[in-house]
Every structure is written in structure tokens, then in C-alpha cells.
């Protein structure tokens, strides 16, 4: 059994599946290895907001590129992937926050994206359940929402239709120099191997600067129309960037089912899977500040997930300097559902030695990795 694969992708989260999707367009022999269910890691825990994020120029480019790719795929996606063009409504809590809205609008527009400033009246018309008297917000109509688990499975299904293979139920214990060792001792050969194991990527590629950052989510019963856009407080980026131990920001997503998915929290507590009730209480309080009536809605479940965080908040996408056969596609923090497709494209470009549509340098795995 000396089959040599063109490429092996380790990890069947949405990022690994997107890598397999684009790699299989260019290489006949692609194998994806997933130890558990496809899309069962962070992908199953996240919100599925496909959003162009302006926290840095590189992030903007990656998210915008990825959103274009999602838009291209939307017509083909299975209905179970629940693609919905909800847009994002960035909500200003006070005049101070509102004073930054126009600058944000200009930034989106200068990058060719639609953006619309809503005043106090317009924002209530757009979202009647928001608190009265909010100064306004910024509507980005191009953003959308998907259902991450089925979308990941769909990407992998397409890759398999093009000939990619799936090896499920086996964990990779070692990878490097084109060799991949499984937990049953088997070693597989490939021209390149992609580490797409999300918040666990540093176990297979020691030295990657990835830290898990825990997030809590709350989901309600069905209330169609209660919230119409993905609502995010303008303070969200501040909360996401603050490297403090704990932060909470208002984030409410209308699911295709009519349910409301409420975020968001960020905590550095390792991989502790427990639910922090006091943090949940803070999230509820935060949500109630913006949506005063939401307390009466029926909640059916709470859960946690882990974001793979990097020091500069950008994902690691590239090959190792000392081992070019090893590619990394990990560290997507709170944006991996959005940026999965662009990541897959970039990985496929690197593997086939072609230029990418966006600058790859900001994502390069430049840290010195000891092996």
C-alpha cells in the first residue's frame, strides 16, 4: 500500500472541508482525515455569521474575499445549509459610538461594499424590538448567515464527488515532511499535508501560537421575525480584541428556523467545557439592554465552543519555512465560518504554486516552529 496522495487535509471542520473543496478542483488525489463527526468541532459550536470584519486591513480583505466566494456558492447550497441574506446591523449604544458610524460606512463603501447609516427612527423601523431611543447604527446588507455543520458537510460532499476521499474515525497523531501517522500506526504519504485541526492545531504542529478562547451561546425557541438582521453591538470589536480574561458583547442572530441565537462571550480558561452561569447572566443582561423584551422568550439550550485565537487575531494560512510540505490552515478565532472559503482558496493556491487574489503575507506562518 504505497499510494501517494497529492494532498492530505487533517481535520474535517469547515476550514478542512473548504480546503478539500478547492484542492479537489486542482488535484485528483486528496484525502481528508477526521477523527469525529464532520463539522463536529468548533464548527458545530459557532454562530454561522458570514461577515465582513473591519478590524484590520488583512482581516477585511480575507473576509471580503470569502464573502464573495460564499455568494458564488449560495445558489448551489442545499436548503439544509440555510443560507440567508440577513445583513448585519451594527448597533450604536450611545452618541459616542454613533459618531464613529459614518467613518465605518466610508470604509466599507471605499471597498466596494454597500453600507447604510440608520438613524434613531430608521433603526427602530428595521428592528422593532430594539430599545427605544438608540441613536442608530450601520447596516451592511451584504452579510449573511449559514448553518455551519451542514455547510461543512456539503463542501466535503462536493469534494468527494470530484474524487476526494474521506477517512473518518481515525485521529492523526503525527504529521510532517509529507508523512501522516494515524492512531493505529498507519503512515500515509502525500506531497503536502494541511493541518486544519482548528483549536488543536498546535498539538500536531508544535509551536503554533494558538490559544483556545471559550464562547457561550444561548438559543431560543422559534420566534420568526422577532429579530430580522444579525444584530451586533458596535462595541463588539473592542470586546473581541481586548485580550482580557473575560468579555461580553451583544450579538443576536435570526436563524432560518425562526430561533434566535444569542452571543457572545470570550474567555481564556483553557478547554474547560463547563457552562459559566454568571457569564450567561451577563450575556442575558447585555441582550436585554438592547432588546428589552427578550427576557420572556423561551430558551431551549446553552452551550460552549472554543475559538482558536492567535496573537494578531489573524488566521495562520501557509507552509512551514523548514517543512514546506506542511501547510497550516488554523487559528480562525471567531471568523472561521466566514473565512473558511478564502482559506481553502489560499491553501489550494499555495499547494499549486500560483498567486492568490489577495495578499497572503499577513497570514504567513512566520513564527519559528521547533520540530
Amino acid at each position: 500500500m504505497t499510494e501517494v496522495f497529492d494532498g492530505i487535509v487533517v481535520g474535517g471542520g469547515i476550514v478542512g472541508c473548504a480546503c478539500a473543496y478547492y484542492l479537489s478542483e486542482r488535484f485528483p488525489k486528496v484525502l481528508l482525515i477526521e477523527k469525529g463527526p464532520v463539522g463536529g468541532g468548533s464548527t458545530a459550536a459557532g454562530m454561522g455569521h458570514v461577515v465582513v470584519m473591519d478590524d484590520s486591513r488583512a482581516q477585511f480583505a480575507l473576509t471580503q474575499y470569502s464573502q464573495q466566494l460564499w455568494n458564488e456558492l449560495f445558489p448551489q447550497l442545499e436548503p439544509s445549509c440555510e443560507p440567508r441574506s440577513t445583513g448585519t446591523l451594527w448597533v450604536a449604544a450611545d452618541e459616542e459610538e454613533f459618531s464613529h458610524v459614518d467613518g465605518k460606512r466610508k470604509l466599507y463603501e471605499s471597498n466596494g461594499l454597500r453600507a447604510e447609516v440608520l438613524d434613531t427612527k430608521a433603526i427602530r423601523e428595521a428592528e422593532p424590538h430594539l430599545r427605544e431611543g438608540l441613536p442608530g447604527g450601520l447596516l451592511i446588507p451584504g452579510d449573511s448567515v449559514i448553518y455551519p455543520m451542514t455547510a461543512a458537510a456539503w463542501l466535503l460532499d462536493q469534494a468527494r464527488l470530484r474524487g476526494a476521499k474521506l477517512l473518518q474515525g481515525r485521529a492523526v497523531v503525527k504529521m510532517g515532511q509529507g508523512k501522516t501517522t494515524l492512531d493505529d500506526g498507519t503512515t500515509l504519504d502525500a506531497h503536502f499535508v494541511v493541518n486544519a485541526t482548528g483549536d488543536r492545531a498546535q498539538t500536531l504542529t508544535p509551536g503554533l501560537p494558538i490559544t483556545p478562547r471559550k464562547g457561550h451561546l444561548i438559543i431560543t425557541d422559534r420566534y420568526p421575525g422577532y429579530v430580522r438582521h444579525q444584530l451586533v453591538e458596535l462595541g463588539y470589536l473592542k470586546s473581541a480584541h481586548e485580550m482580557s480574561n473575560e468579555s461580553v458583547a451583544f450579538n443576536a442572530q435570526p436563524r432560518a428556523t425562526g430561533q434566535i441565537l444569542l452571543g457572545s462571550s470570550r474567555q481564556f480558561v483553557g478547554w474547560d467545557p463547563g457552562i459559566d452561569r454568571n457569564l450567561i447572566a451577563k450575556m442575558v443582561a447585555r441582550a436585554t439592554e438592547y432588546l428589552p423584551g427578550i427576557g420572556s422568550l423561551s430558551v431551549i439550550r446553552t452551550w460552549v465552543g472554543f475559538r482558536a485565537t492567535t496573537p494578531n487575531s489573524l488566521p495562520l494560512i501557509g507552509s512551514l519555512q523548514h517543512d514546506p510540505a506542511t501547510l497550516v490552515a488554523a487559528g480562525h478565532e471567531g471568523l472561521g465560518i466566514t473565512t473558511s472559503l478564502a482559506t481553502g482558496k489560499l491553501i489550494a493556491d499555495i499547494a499549486s504554486g500560483v498567486e492568490s487574489k489577495i495578499d497572503r503575507n499577513p497570514f504567513a506562518v512566520s513564527v519559528e516552529v521547533k520540530s
Binding site: P37, G40, S80, A281, L297, I300
Partner: protein, 421 residues
């Protein structure tokens, strides 16, 4: 922040096991809390009827109020936020209560197996229909087909007749010879035999053993059922179908507390102690055994919870004999394989999300099925479809997360009470 109200013993569930536990513990002066989701205590079998407590437990409950038992009626334990603390949602909103010992007497629920038409209105559980009658449903002159398995079938058949329903047939899936065996087993248990006989006279003419519902038909609600016996199908018209296949334990709260689960039940030792320190479990969650076993288990748990180990030990023999009885019931009412093959691809399995049997065959576990089809993701969180898919596909059930049952978001909005030192 308010200080935590802490009890010596907290009992969750005010059915036979919980009442026995609360009574035993309070008998020795312990400060006891008794929590139940229903507006009045009694549990399933002694459920209050039209607003008044069942006669069978009235005395016990009056007794409790003379002792130091605080009742939390109409209160749902929806999470276990930290060691020694439970969180309730009830008439006073969200409340945290603390315990030194905890007795989980959370009971069981009916097992439903999907068949075509089982989602039609007026097709419900056996205990389900009985509970509704106790809550005021008028079944006079209504034609009710009772179907499924186990002693409840006969008990509810008789109950419905007493309440004026017409019960054309009672379908017991178990074959007759095993039922006869079960009857023989009853002789050894004097307390049970009375129950058995008084049922017998009412129902003998209506009972069909080795028979089961194949499907239910109707446009806006159930109008008839097609059932099978001896290789032939029959049709019977009805206004209600009461159909369930025995019980499954409510293990969600024990699971949330970290109690070890073995073969689907909460694992307990001789003293009804679970794998978690200070947490006892009694009644259906430890094994489906009926009211008498639940009571003696509850009593043992309540006694050990306050350190009366010797008193508890004196009850071990009694518990063993009820356990033998339970095992004979299990054998007599083992489910036939035909019941697992009733659904067609478009039969709904997950009622909350309308996931059909045909959508589920591709998946290897409840977790993948959940992620890809939403099976078990709805507001009942797999309470109904979980046990069904376990029987149908052998899937183990998924993880439990708070809230244990749906509560208003505001219920989660309260920070934890301060715990003194």
C-alpha cells in the same frame, strides 16, 4: 446578592420515591425541600386530579407539612449551576437552593415508538391521556383505543372506563403466554395482586394480546387505527389513541450533575448513592420498577441522606423482592421487533424538528444525525425522539445542557446566589 437558602436534604420529584424520601428524612428532624414541576405533589401515578391531591398520598403530604418540609410546587429544576446548588424556575421566578444531600427522584416518561400517523392530534401517550383526564379532559362517550405494553395499559383502560369512555380495544404487544407468566409471578406479591384482579374483570373482553398498532389514520385528528394480530390487520374507529411502550428513565438531571449512567440508568449503590458524593437517586431513574420499588428506594435514600444507615438497611430485603418483581415485568413485556419496523421513510421521528425516518438512516450516531438533520435539537431536546432512535438504531443519547427544560431567557439572567463561606 441574596444569600443561598440551604437545606439538609433537597428532594427533586414529589412522586412516590420523592415523597418517601422527604418523609423519611424529615422524620428525623432534617430540614427538607421537596421540589416538583407540577402544581401539586403526587408524581405520575398519584397525580392530582382537577386541582386536588390524590387520596392515596393525601395523608403523607399532610404529614410532610407537619414536619420541617418546605414544598416548592410548580417549580422546575432547570440547572445545577455549582456544587451543592440547584436552580429552579417557579412561581417566584428564578431561585437557587442549596443542599447538603440531594435525592433525585425525577421519575420516568413514556417510551414512544414512531408509526405512521403517530403525530396526528389526539394520538398521545397512555399515561399522557390519563394525565389529561386528571387535568379535566372529559372522555365520556369518547372512543379510546389503548395500545402499547405493560401494566399501565390495563390500569389506564380501567381508569378510562370508570370515567365514562368507551374503550373498544386494548392492544398489548406482548404475547399471551408471557402475560400468563407475569400473572403467575404476581402471586408472590400480595400487594400487587389486588391491583391485578380489579383490572382483570373490566378489561378481559377488550384485551388483545400479541397485537399492536400499525398506523393511525385521520385528516385533522385521529379517526381510526389499523392494528395487527396473528398475521392479520384490523381497523378500529376512535376519537383518541393512547399508545406508548413502557417507560424510559429521566436521567437528564442526574447526567447534568455528573452521575454515572449505566445501561441507560443512573448507577447507584446499596444505599441509593450515585457516583457523585451526597447525591442519591431513587425510583424510575435507577431502573423501571413501579410504585412499590420506587417508594422503598426513596425511603432508603432519605434515611441514608440523614445518616440513618441502619434503618435504611432494614429495608434492603423488601427492595430486593420488588426488584425481582420488576425483572419479571421486564421479561413479560419485552418489546417485539416488529415495532421497530413500523415507520416508513416519511414517518416523522423527531417531532420538534419534523425529521423523518428516511432522513436518519444515513447517520451512524445521534450526534451526527443531530448536526446534519437537527434531529433532537428542538425544544424537547431529544426527550421523545432520543429513546426512539435508541430502540430503532441503537444510538446512545446526546449530551445534556442547561436549561433542562425550556425556561424564559430572564431565568438565566440572574447571577448565582452567594454561598456563605
Amino acid at each position: 446578592m441574596p444569600e443561598l437558602d440551604r437545606f439538609d436534604v433537597v428532594v427533586v420529584g414529589a412522586g412516590p420515591a420523592g415523597l418517601a424520601a422527604a418523609n423519611a428524612a424529615a422524620g428525623f428532624g432534617a430540614r427538607v425541600a421537596l421540589i416538583d414541576e407540577n402544581e401539586l405533589p403526587g408524581g405520575q401515578i398519584y397525580r392530582a386530579s382537577r386541582g386536588s391531591i390524590s387520596a392515596s398520598v393525601r395523608e403523607v403530604i399532610e404529614d410532610l407539612s407537619k414536619k420541617s418540609v418546605v414544598r416548592f410546587d410548580g417549580s422546575t429544576v432547570f440547572e445545577a449551576p455549582s456544587d451543592g446548588v440547584l436552580r429552579l424556575w417557579g412561581p417566584r421566578g428564578t431561585q437557587d437552593i442549596g443542599y447538603r444531600s440531594l435525592v433525585l427522584a425525577v421519575g420516568g416518561r413514556e417510551l414512544f415508538l414512531p408509526f405512521p400517523g403517530w403525530t396526528l392530534p389526539n394520538a398521545m401517550g397512555i399515561g399522557g391521556l390519563q394525565a389529561l383526564v386528571k387535568a379535566g379532559l372529559d372522555v365520556r362517550e369518547k372512543r379510546v383505543v389503548v395500545a402499547g405494553t405493560g401494566p399501565l395499559l390495563l390500569a389506564v383502560g380501567a381508569y378510562l372506563l370508570e370515567h365514562g369512555a368507551r374503550v373498544p380495544i386494548i392492544l398489548e404487544q406482548a404475547p399471551l403466554k408471557d402475560l400468563a407468566l407475569f400473572g403467575a409471578g404476581l402471586v408472590r406479591y400480595p400487594a400487587k395482586i389486588g391491583q391485578g384482579i380489579s383490572l382483570g374483570r373490566h378489561i378481559a373482553t377488550r384485551l388483545r394480546a400479541g397485537a399492536w398498532v400499525e398506523r393511525a389514520e385521520g385528516s385533522r385528528a385521529v379517526e381510526s387505527v389499523t392494528w395487527r394480530k396473528g398475521g392479520k390487520s384490523f381497523q378500529t374507529e376512535c376519537d383518541f389513541l393512547a399508545c406508548a411502550y413502557g417507560f424510559v428513565p429521566n436521567v437528564e438531571l442526574p447526567q447534568l450533575l455528573g452521575c454515572e449512567i449505566q445501561d441507560g440508568f443512573v448507577k447507584v449503590d446499596d444505599q441509593q448513592l450515585t457516583s457523585v458524593k451526597g447525591v442519591f437517586c431513587a425510583g424510575e431513574p435507577t431502573g423501571i420498577g413501579g410504585v412499590d420499588l420506587s417508594q422503598v428506594e426513596g425511603r432508603i435514600a432519605g434515611l441514608v441522606a440523614i445518616g440513618q444507615d441502619d434503618q435504611a438497611e432494614a429495608l434492603f430485603g423488601k427492595r430486593e423482592s420488588w426488584k425481582r418483581f420488576a425483572r419479571s415485568m421486564d421479561r413479560a413485556f419485552a418489546l417485539r421487533h416488529e415495532l421497530m419496523e413500523l415507520s416508513t421513510p416519511d414517518t416523522i421521528v423527531c417531532r420538534c424538528e419534523d425529521v423523518r425516518a428516511g432522513d436518519l438512516v444515513a447517520w451512524e450516531s445521534s450526534r451526527t444525525a443531530k448536526l446534519q438533520t437537527r434531529c433532537g435539537m428542538g425544544p424537547c431536546q431529544g426527550r421523545i425522539c432520543g429513546p426512539a432512535t435508541q430502540k430503532l438504531f441503537g444510538w446512545t443519547q446526546g449530551s445534556v445542557r442547561p436549561p433542562l427544560s425550556p425556561v424564559p431567557l430572564s431565568a438565566l439572567g440572574r447571577p448565582l446566589d452567594e454561598i456563605e463561606n
